[in-house]
Each structure stands twice: as C-alpha cells, then as structure tokens.
C-alpha cells in the first residue's frame, strides 16, 4: 500500500471560498517579477527535486487525481465526451491500481465546452467527478460582455460546477486594472455556487510582471483558481509563469488567509513534467496545495504517459501507449 485515495473534493467541502477583497492598487503596482531570477529558480527545480520508486508512483497517482481531463475541439461529439468521461472515471488500469495497492481513483474533473456539458454530466453521474466548462467566449474572450456573462449562467444551469473563464487580455496590456477587476468580479458573481477558474492566457500578457499583477487582481476579484492558459496560445504553461502565479497565491494567502487554487494548462504531457510541477507547488506553497481542490493540471495527453510510467513501476518493463485504454 503506497498511497491512500484522495477523494476529489470541491473547495467548499473543506475550505472557505475566496470571497475576494477590494481592489488594492498599491499592492498591484508594487508587485515585481524579475524574469532572470525567476527563470533561474525554475531551471533548478528539476535538478533539485527528485522522486523515486514507491514515492514516485504515489506522486503520479496524485497527479492523476489532479488532472482536468480535457477535450476542447471543434469536432467534439457527445460520444467522444462520453469516452473521455469513462476514462476520467477509470484513468488507470485496474490491475495496475491493484498492484499498487490502490483503490479506485478518478481524475479531478472533466473539462469541456458548453455544448458538451450535458453529455458529460450524464456520463459522470454517480462518479462524483465534477464537470468544468470553459466559458466567456473561450479562448479569446472577445464576445459581447453580456453574452459572456450569459454563457456562464447557461453553463452553470447545464450542470457545470466549475467554470473556466478567460480574462480580457487587453485590460492587462492597456493597464486597465479596474476593468480587469470589475470583469472578474462580474464573472465570479455570475458563477454563483460554481467555482471559477480565471484563465490569464499568460502567453499573451507580455511580461511576468503582468502575470503577477493579473494574478493578484483576479484573486482580489474572487477567483477560486488561477489558471495559466487556454491551451490555444503559442506559449502555454511554463515553470517560470507557474512560479510567478504560485508566489502570487502565497502572497494572497499570507495577506488574506484565503487559499486560491492553481491550474497550469497546456504543454504538460510527460509524467516527469507533472512531478516537477508538483514539486514546485509543494516547495513554494506547501503540501495542502497538492490536493485536487487546490491544484489541477489542464491536460489531455499527460494521463497516458503517467499510465506508462506506473506500469513500468509495477512490472519493471517500459510500457507502450496502446496497453492503456484511450480517452
């Protein structure tokens, strides 16, 4: 027995939701992010931290339970989504879990477009796996504001319990922080009981300092999670960006006492990368952030690589992709 199952909790089960605070521009303006120093720190993480053998298997299983298994394609169909949901409910082959001494596990959530919420909710009934929907004119966020709010409301009504919104990058790029705050606060309000993840699209924000500032503002406006990317930008989740966002989360927690979650998305496809992200979060934020109520991977192909590594751990032989059921 190397790990116990961590059930997928929604944040409100164990933690008070971040209600947000008034916009604190003094704090926002004082936020600094020294790119070179951040890159140096990020570059040492893979060399400083290493998890092996049983511990590695336990970490990989945790990674699985933190995945928002995602399909965001124009050709998504209900059948395709049902397949994804089935994989979310049984992400790792039962014989491997048995060999690892694990009970059943699930991914953190399934993440889809609005029109796929209904088939997902139906497919996941009884699993306890939440459905997350990308929203607000994802990925560019340039549709009319009232429609973006309406989209959130529709998605919540359709059964999504997590909403991944996209911020208006132009508010960051033009320094219109008040507009960013107001927009985020409106999104949060529209979500009602559903949890809101704020996608910053960090690859389009121009600088790490902007990432730091946008992170703070979204948390001030009540984000439950901050998330790097839509997966559609040319640069998605990176370790330096993660470091900046994680440090913003830590600063927000230190000042307000509220724990905001973190979701790197896009470009994380290897088990080793997942371990590095987990180590980064563990070292910078602490173990509490290593649970699915405060940490998610936005990923699709990551799961298969993790399955192969787990099989290698169990059998001692390198595995092949086709030995694991596809999503």
């Amino acid at each position: 027995m190397i790990a116990t199952r961590t059930p997928t909790h929604l944040p409100q089960v164990t933690l008070a939701r971040n209600p947000g605070i008034p916009l604190d521009m003094e704090w926002v303006r004082s936020a600094q992010a020294n790119t070179s120093a951040i890159e140096r720190r990020a570059a040492t993480i893979p060399g400083r931290r290493s998890v092996k053998k049983d511990h590695q298997a336990a970490w990989l299983l945790r990674a699985v339970s933190c995945i928002d298994l995602t399909t965001l394609s124009g050709d998504d169909t209900p059948a395709r989504v049902r397949r994804l949901c089935a994989k979310a409910a049984q992400p790792v082959r039962a014989d491997l879990l048995d060999a690892l001494g694990m009970g059943p596990i699930t991914t953190g959530a399934v993440c889809v477009y609005h029109d796929m919420i209904a088939p997902a909710v139906e497919a996941l009934e009884g699993t306890g796996i939440p459905v997350a929907a990308v929203s607000t004119g994802f990925p560019a966020g340039l549709s009319p504001f009232h429609l973006r709010l309406a989209e959130i409301e529709e998605s919540v009504k359709a059964g999504a319990s997590e909403i991944d919104i996209v911020i208006s990058r132009r508010h960051v790029l033009t320094g219109n922080w008040q507009a960013l705050y107001d927009e985020m606060a409106a999104f949060r309000a529209a979500c009602g009981p559903a949890h809101v993840k704020a996608i910053l699209a960090t690859g389009e924000l121009g600088s790490l300092r902007n990432v730091a500032r946008a992170s703070l503002i979204c948390m001030m406006a009540g984000a439950d999670f901050i998330k790097t990317s839509t997966g559609k930008e040319s640069v998605n989740a990176t370790l330096p960006v993660s470091l900046v966002m994680i440090r913003a989360i830590r600063a927000y927690h230190t000042r307000t006492g509220y724990k905001v979650g973190y979701k790197p998305a896009g470009g994380i496809s290897k088990a080793k990368d997942a371990l590095t992200y987990l180590a980064l979060v563990k070292d910078e934020l602490g173990d509490r952030w290593l649970r699915p109520d405060l940490f998610r991977f936005g990923a699709s192909s990551l799961l298969n690589d993790i399955e192969r590594q787990l099989e290698h751990h169990v059998t001692g032989h390198y595995s092949a992709s086709y030995r694991h059921g596809m999503a």
């Binding site: 140096r40 400083r48 290493s50 511990h55 121009g206 600088s207 790490l208």
Partner: protein, 774 residues
C-alpha cells in the same frame, strides 16, 4: 506527499577506489608513486574512511618541482595550438567522466550531488574549454608574454576540482607547469584528474599533484624552485603565505575569505531575492568564499522579507549529499562543524533554525537577525550555512554597511531599478557584484577580490596576467647612493626650502629633520625633509580624503595630466638644470629626461579615458561587465635613478586610472620631486590626489606597506631588500604590491610606460547584470 529517498549510486566511484586498494601515492612526473604513510580522507556524511593518502615529504616536493621544472621549457616551446589540444582533451574527458567526478566530489566533500553534477563539474569542463582557447590565441594575442615557469598551487576543500581547474587550466594554457596540492579533506577528484592527464596527453611533469596537510603547503610555498604561488583558502593562511614569500621574487595570487553583502532594496522582487539567498548562503552549505553571508535589507521591507525567508528556510532539505533531492549536504569535517557551532552559540541576536540537523556532520540553515555591524558575526567569516542580517535606511547607508568589512570579494544588489543598481555596484568594495542574482561564475569573467579577500583574478583575459610575465630583460639594480658631503661646503644664492607636499599644501616634516643634498661636485643643492611615519600617516589621510578623484571622469583626469605636462614644459630648462646638478647627468641627458617626462605625462593623459572595460562573453543571459576600477590609495617608492622621469612614470599612470598617491621621491636625488610639487600646484591637481614625501625609503617602507588604509604599494627603489620589507609588511591588510625585486627598469624606454602600469593601477570588478523580460 513526501519526497522519499532518491539516491545516486556510488558504485563506480567505490569501484575506482577499490581498484587502487584505497591507497594513493603522489602524481609526479606523469606517474603515481607507491603509496606512503599519510592520512585518511573520509566521507563526512557517513563518517567512513574512503581512502588513505600519502603525506608528501620534502623529498617528494623536490621531486615534483624538479619534474615540473624539467617539463616546463618543452611544454612552453610546444606552442599554444599544441597545448590547446591537450586542454581540449582534458575538457572532453571531464565531460565524459562527469558523473564519476561528481560522485567522487560529493563523497569526499559532502556537497550535494546536485551541485557537483550541475554546477561544479560543468564549470570545470568550461574552464578547460575556455583556456584551450586561450592557449590557441596566446601566440597571436599575447606575443610579448612568457610563461612564469613552475607554479605552486594550493586549493581548498570547498570546490576541490573546480579550484583545481581554475588553477591548472590558465597555468598550463600559458606554458607553465604546476605542482598542485589539493586540500587534505578532499584529494580524491584531483587524483582521478591525474589519471585523466595521462589519457589527455598531458606530457609527464606538466601537472604534478601531491597530497598532504598544511606542512606540505608550506614546503611548496617556501620552495626555491617555484616561480609563482597561487592560493585559494583562508585569509589567515593567505597572510602567512604573503609573509613567507616576501622578497623571494615569486609571483603571488591569493583568493581568500569574504563576508559578502547581500543588499535588498525595497523595490526588489522580494520572492526572488529570498530565493537568491538559497543560492547565496545555502549553496555548498555556506562553505563558499563568495557566499552572500551578510544580508542587508531595507528597513521598510525587513519584517516581510525575514518572514518570507524563514518560510523558505523551512523548505530546505538537509541530508545525504548523494541524495538527488537535498539542498544542503554535510559539513566537510567535524572540525569545521565545531567551529560553526561555537561561533553561532556565542552570538547575540535572534537565532532562527527550522529544526535540528540530522545526526552526524550536518549543520542546519540558520538566520541571525537583530545584529549590529559591530557584532562579531557581522564581521567574521563563518563558512557555514549561517546568514546574519541587519537593516539599512537609504542607499548611501547600504553602501556604508556593505563596505564596513575587512573583506571585499563579492556583493549582491537586488533592485528592479536599474539606476539604483548601477549606481550602487561601482561603490561596493568587491571584486564581483551580482545584480539581482548571486554566485554566477564563468571562465570568461574574472573572479577575485579586494582588501583582505586577496588579489589577482581568475578567469578571463585578466586572469592570464597571473600566469604570464612580460618578455623583458632586466639587470640587477645596485643601490644608488646620494653624493656625499664635500669636505668644504660650496653654497650659493638664496636658501630654498623644500618641504613635503601633503593634502595640497607644503608641510614641514613632523620630525624636524632634513638632509643636505649635494651635487657630485660638492655644491649644496638644498635640503630635503626627512619624512617620518607621522608625515606618512598624514599623507595617507590626505589621499584617502581625495576620493572624488576616483569618481572623476577620465576626460577630466586627462586634461589635468596634460596640463601638468604643459606646466612642466614651461619650466623644462630649470628642471633639466636641477637633474644635471642632482645626478651629474650631462645637460643633454638631463634635457632628454625632462622631455621624456613630459611625453610620459601625455602618454598617460592619453590613456586616462581609454582603458576600456569589457562585456564578457559568458554563456548566461547576462551582461557581465569587467570594469577597470582604480585601486584606491597607492603608496609609491619612486625610482632612485631618473629623479624626475621616474617620479612622473609612477605618478602619472596611477592618476590616469583614478588613484590617489603617496609618493616617496628618489632617495638620493629628492629635489626634482620637491620642485615638481610646484608644477602640481599650478596644474589644478585637487588637494590630496598627489602627496610627495622625501626621506629614507627603508625607514618609511614598513610603515607604508603596513598602513591599513593604503590599498597598494609600488616600489622601484634601489634600496636593498626593500621588496622583501614591503611584501612582508603588506600582509597586514593584504594590500597589493608591485616591487622590483632589486631589478632595473629602463625608464626612458617603453618599459617605463608598459601596460603593466595599467594593470597595476586598476582592479577589475566584474558586474553581472542578468536581463530579460517576458
């Protein structure tokens, strides 16, 4: 979600030790000697003996030096390109055996495998690559330089192989041969390197590696067959080496201790600055000469900064150096552990540790806050994972606190304001300044300190001066005596009073004594004041007060030097007559000396705004600026021959580079110098920039060289043994010295204005400025 163990295998390293029956001899003349009696080297983390080493005897040292001596001419003659191939092979071998080197290093020293694997060994390879290039370029780029000969090199235990590389690579690249002694705690990688030498085609005798304790170090230092000593280690030992080598003619470079400031301004990226401390003081467990061990944080952010730092310290993992997931390994030896423990337990302030260290030779990361600059641990090097901290209010106060130390190796400055960072960097007494970073190093960038952190640079073009000498022929310089008083004095004209020139004013000598100066024909030329140590003290104080000169622009200094030349030219006839009277030179010779002196002033005026720094080609995304900074206050004993030209030749380059000088005039012929101060007075030279003393060189030398507020001493005096006196006394604060060792210099020729004057008038400060946004 614990990390669990992530061990790096040491099987190959242990097998290598077994293959030598865990007993090693010495590497002399390309072969290992039979292991003799000696000492054990231990793995400090597991407290087990790794191998036994041979304590080199005096005969062994002789044999090593003899083998190096024998090999040196052939190695030098082989030519740069041929040597480059050997260095290139060494670089490749270090890369090919990188894990073996890394594991051996961590086993022997206790440093984390991450550091030896990711930092030490790659830098070792980089150093050999870089200097392979230097060997390749030597013939074309340094055509007037020769190898020094045989170099004795003593390296410490904190970076055993890296320091070996820093010593051996430039030395053999330039055609020297070496006798190197690794530290007794950590000899193993050096011995494995010895094996690589054979495979790389290093000719027998070019590299010799001998093991032993400090006694063997002393044998090397004292050995008459060695031309240069290079030492990295403690300041205390560095001072002893300075004293022991005094007057031997051996070249010397010292890279010693530090108490480097780590300055955090309120506009810094605080989290990055906190993380930087992990690399500053918890890198290699703080057993780093350039460790950022003295935190200076702006008062307005101090509480927040310390809170975040304590939180970060809680995440540091302490343990087995061969675990791939630890941040801090073992302390190198229980002796060192005791020293750290005693220093911390005797300290005031608030001592914070996140928890007890593991059983064994480990010490936990420690932060001591609430110390004042006067506290012992704010001044003394701890050489362990212990950070001391205090606060400042303003940038000016940060500089004051940073420079309030005997050391001057490195400094870190954290600010997002480029104006502030680039204003602070030049003001710090340090050989290396890292802006928004720490402990960045590269073979292309000079490394080394000022003050009691030593002298000389390792790395870059500037590092090569430590292993080459100008190709000039010199002859012995016999003592030059003043002309004796005649039986009957001939006097004429009105009595003129030559005084000392201190702080821009003519001053009577404190002692109230003067010496009559006679021409060869027995004419009384005047009286020269006999300066004593109090006059010297006053002159140094005046020079220290003239700091603005060192900040002035080269263009301004050039104008003033030209102006001195102009005013000297106006009085050329008078000076020529004076020289002829003083030295008995012919009128033509005397006129030529004045003419050359004017030329020389123009020469150094020309250089004043042209001794450019450099942006180094380091592999990091950094602008690494090598800035030529003035040394500070230079005490000078002017040549006894050429009373005017010699004086000008030593003063002008020092001034051109922004130094202030206390210059003791030619002892036998002092009156050209006292005339010269009148020229200075009319040439807009600010008070205190040039101070001229007359008097007895041997009496003044120990006071000048011993004065703690003098930064360098040059001597071209003909007084016997003066070089030895100066070098020995200079150990007081490890000021730089440049002495003639009783050899002549042709002041009228190009040697009188060689590039060595530029080198000696400047310290290279490397300022690392990482950049990047987005």
């Amino acid at each position: 979600m614990e990390y669990g163990p992530a061990p790096e295998s040491d099987a190959e390293a242990q097998a290598w030790l077994d293959s030598h029956d865990r007993a090693f001899g010495l590497f002399i003349g390309g072969a290992m000697t039979t292991p003799g009696t000696g000492f054990a080297t231990r793995n400090p983390a597991r407290d087990v003996v790794l191998a036994t080493l041979t304590q080199a005897s005096a005969d062994d040292v002789d044999a090593a030096v003899a083998s190096a001596r024998k090999a040196q001419p052939g190695w030098a003659k082989m030519g740069g390109p041929a040597r480059a191939r050997v260095l290139y092979a060494l670089a490749r071998l270090v890369q090919k055996q990188s894990r073996m080197f890394a594991v051996l290093e961590s086993l022997d020293s206790g440093k984390p495998i991450r550091e030896s694997r990711d930092i030490d060994i790659p830098l070792v390879a980089r150093h050999f690559y870089y200097h392979a290039g230097m060997a390749q370029l030597q013939d074309s780029e340094l055509p007037d330089c020769d190898a020094l000969g045989v170099c004795g090199q003593i390296v410490p235990w904190n970076f055993p192989l890296l320091m070996l590389a820093w010593k051996i690579a430039p030395a053999i690249a330039m055609g020297n041969t070496v006798v190197l002694k690794p530290a007794e705690y950590t000899p193993l990688t050096a011995l494995y390197f010895a094996e690589m030498c054979g495979q790389a085609g290093v000719p027998p005798g070019v590299v010799n590696i001998i093991t032993g304790d400090g006694a063997v170090g002393e044998l090397i230092v004292d050995h008459p067959g060695i031309d240069k000593i290079a030492f990295t280690g403690s300041t205390a030992v560095g001072k002893r080496i300075r004293e022991r080598t005094a007057g031997s003619g051996k070249a010397l470079t010292l890279e010693l201790g530090g108490k480097s400031p780590y300055i955090v301004f309120d506009d810094a990226d605080i989290d990055s600055a906190v993380e930087g401390l992990v690399d500053a003081i918890w890198f290699n467990g703080g057993q780093v000469c350039c460790a950022g061990s003295r935190l200076l944080v702006q008062e307005s952010i101090a509480e927040d900064f310390h809170d975040r730092l304590r939180l970060r310290m809680g995440g540091l993992r302490l343990g087995d150096p061969l675990d791939k997931c630890i941040d801090i390994g073992a302390v190198v030896d229980p002796v060192q552990l005791r020293a750290i423990t005693e220093k911390v337990s005797a300290s005031g302030g608030e001592v914070f540790q996140t928890g007890p260290a593991p059983e064994g030779c480990f010490y936990p990361p420690t932060l001591i806050t609430g110390l004042t600059p006067a506290a012992p641990l704010m001044q003394e090097e701890i050489f362990g994972p212990v950070l001391v901290s205090t606060t400042f209010r303003t940038p000016a106060e940060a500089v004051q606190l940073a420079n309030n130390t005997r050391y001057g190796l490195a400094a870190s400055v954290w600010s997002e304001n480029i104006n502030l960072a680039l204003d602070i960097a030049p003001k710090l007494a340090a050989g290396i300044v890292w802006v928004n970073g720490t402990n960045m190093m590269d073979a292309a960038a000079g490394f080394g300190g000022v003050r009691e952190s030593g002298f000389g640079r390792e790395g870059g073009w500037e590092g090569l001066t430590a292993y080459t000498k100008p190709r000039t022929k010199t002859t012995a310089l016999p003592p030059i005596a003043a002309f004796e008083a005649p039986k009957t004095a001939q006097t004429s004209g009105l009595d003129r009073t030559a005084k000392l020139y201190i702080g821009g004013k003519q001053a009577r000598p404190d002692g109230g004594y003067s010496r009559a100066v006679w021409s060869k024909k027995g004419a009384l030329l005047g009286h020269a004041s006999l300066a004593n140590r109090k006059d010297l003290r006053n002159a140094v104080e005046a020079a220290q007060g003239a700091k603005a000169w060192s900040r002035s622009a080269g263009h301004l200094r050039a104008q003033i030097l030209y102006y001195i030349g102009e005013n000297l030219s106006a009085r050329a006839g008078e000076f020529a007559a004076r020289i002829a009277d003083l030295t008995n030179a012919s009128a033509k010779q005397a006129e030529a000396e004045v003419d050359t002196a004017i030329d020389r002033l123009f020469h150094w005026a020309a250089w004043a705004d042209k001794h450019d720094g450099a942006a180094k080609g380091v592999p990091q995304r950094v602008v690494a600026l090598a800035m030529n900074e003035p040394v500070g206050v230079i005490g000078q004993f002017a040549p006894d021959d050429a009373p005017l030209l010699g004086l000008v030749s030593v003063i002008a380059p020092a001034l051109a580079m922004g130094n202030r000088v206390v210059t003791v005039a030619s002892q036998p012929f002092p009156l050209a110098a006292t005339d010269f101060y009148q020229v200075l007075e009319t040439s807009d030279v600010p008070a205190g920039v040039v101070n001229i003393l007359t008097g007895d060189h041997r009496e003044l030398a120990p006071h000048m060289a011993g004065h703690m507020d003098v930064d360098a001493v040059w001597s071209f005096s003909s007084a016997a043994d003066l070089s030895q006196v100066i070098e020995r006394a200079s150990a007081s604060n490890l000021k730089r010295t440049w002495v003639n060792n009783g050899r002549s210099r042709n002041w009228a020729g190009s040697d009188g204005q060689s590039r060595a004057f530029l080198t000696q008038a400047c310290d290279v400060k490397t300022v690392w400025i990482p950049y990047g946004e987005g």
